[in-house]
Amino acid sequence: MISTLLRKNISAWQLAAYSVACLVGLSILLISINFYADIRSAQSQDRQPGNYIVLSKPVSLLAALGGSPSASNSFSPAEIEDLASQPWVRRIGEFTSADFNISAAVEFAGRGLSTALFFESLPDEFVDTDLDQWHFDPASKEIPILVPKDYLALYNYGFAASRGMPQLSESLIKQIPIRIAVAGNGHYDVFPARIAGLSSRLNTIAVPDSFMTWANSYYGDKNDVRQPARLIVELSSPGDPAAARWISDNNLDSSDNNAASGKAVYLASVVSAVVGTIGVVIAALSVLILLLSMFLLVQKNSGKIRDLTLLGYRRSQVAAFYDRLIIIINCAVTTGAIITCILVSRLWTGILKEFGVDGNNTILIVLAAAAIMGAVTVISVASCRKMIKKASR
């Protein structure tokens, strides 16, 4: 009976205007959230190294002519601290180079190959291979080695092709037994080794940090404390122009051969943020329409609201009518926006699938929509109660 009484002055036009505006705003917002989540997951699933850059100092003429390399080319602790304080830096890893002589021997396809080699190591969390395989056990003595993907390509299309050697697949190369001879500090040992993985992030031949720490102390010169010459940096936002600016300001070299994809992701993030902001503005304006429309409705009904409270109706009983109205409209808008968002996102999920990325953010979208509209509903209901309190006095 209260609803028959209060329904009289509802303006269908105002509520329809709110519903449409809020639907448009919320849909745009959800679409931009969905798009952002998709490009983010595309980036992580693709294992794009755009998140990482390797920094080094340019090789000076003096160093090239045989001056002390460690003095001019390494990073001092103060420099590392300065880098760590930059907002675009999430983590820094230091490369440790081997302080001893290494040579490797391989025997396959009936031929023996032997070469002098270098090792570097870096903290395990920067290594893009299966970490279960990535440790050195002094008992078994087997050293896992990480080789850049490019080396395999160099071998397959450069060396093997010209020398008539067989080409190797990624899985096959991991099977090849390698012997590593290590010498230094009056010791000489031979270790078995295998290629544990191929890295697209690291442009070096890497061994586990645990092996390097042990080997440097055993084969290396204990008095020679060296500073790292190369640093690997994980970026908090890939492609951030601030990073490129800082690197060039400090006159450093960076191996950011994947910067293009990082930049693309960064630009796409900026675009989705801008679009999302537009969605927020439209949605916020639509909430203003709702509040204004509710205000007019309560104003028009203020006499009836007052009479109902005079009969003994509680404010909450009167407000329940308006609450129901707001909740029904907002539920409809939320459902509509979720459906719109999912339909629109089909435009690009097909393209992403071709890249091998399965961007399914339905749960995220539903949660985001529910959270946003939940907040809108709470705000509307609260201000509606305030209006009713005023009207019933």
Binding site: M1, I2, T4, L5, K8, K304, R306, D307, L308, T309, L310, L311, G312, Y313, R314, R315, K389, S392
Partner: protein, 208 residues
């Protein structure tokens, strides 16, 4: 107690303004006064829909101004009934819906009892007519039935028979009297001359 808009000279010989006065449950009061002497204000102050007065009103010793909105709602459903002078019916609802909207809140009367009251007051044929199409005398009786659809300790009737003839006055008065006596409640009726003709001598006449 005195309304904010009154000055002490305005009240004259009043028994209520600027005095201490107690309405006792079980006794009936006829409040006689000239227009503009504050009858409706008194009803509104006690019914808690206005509080523009100086002084204090107590319910069993509790100051009325300390009641919360919900406590006031409960009071209006269970303890104090009011027939306002301006009636305050919802014009778009039918006569009986105007009564039902109150009875739905209190659940005090059955549908049958409500229809009986319409019959007794001679407006049974107006049950389904929108309240806005009734005469003022008819509206007055619909509003009275609405006021009776709740338990009460006191019923305030602000000029309840101002638009009724003597015959209807007596019918209305006896219905009110029976309902009040059944709950041992008090009737407090105001008038500017056309008094409610209660069938009893247990009446306090007060000059406002």
């Amino acid at each position: 107690m005195i309304p904010d808009v009154f000055s002490p000279e305005d009240v004259g010989e009043s028994r209520i303004w600027l005095k201490e006065f107690t309405f006792v449950r079980g006794r009936h009061y006829l409040v006689e006064a000239a227009s503009g002497s504050g009858k409706s204000s008194m009803c509104s102050f006690i019914y808690r829909n206005r509080s523009d007065y100086r002084g204090s009103i107590g319910f069993d010793g509790r100051d009325a101004k300390s009641l919360s909105a919900d406590e006031i709602s409960d009071l209006r459903c269970h303890n104090i009934a009011l027939l306002p002078q301006e009636l305050r019916l919802f014009g778009q609802l039918t006569a009986i819906d105007n009564v039902r909207i109150k009875n739905k809140l209190t659940g005090y009367c059955s549908e049958k009892q409500i229809i009986e009251m319409f019959g007794r007051l001679g407006i049974a044929d107006k049950i389904n007519r929108p309240a806005s199409l009734l005469s003022i005398g008819q509206m007055q009786r619909v509003a009275l039935i609405r006021a009776l659809c709740q338990p009460f300790d006191f019923i305030f009737l602000d000029e309840p028979v101002s638009h009724l003839d003597e015959n209807n006055n007596r019918i209305v008065a006896s219905l009110i009297y029976e309902t009040a006596e059944a709950q041992n409640a008090s009737i407090i009726a105001t008038s500017v001359g056309n008094q409610l003709l209660l069938p009893t001598d247990n009446i306090n006449h007060i000059r406002l």
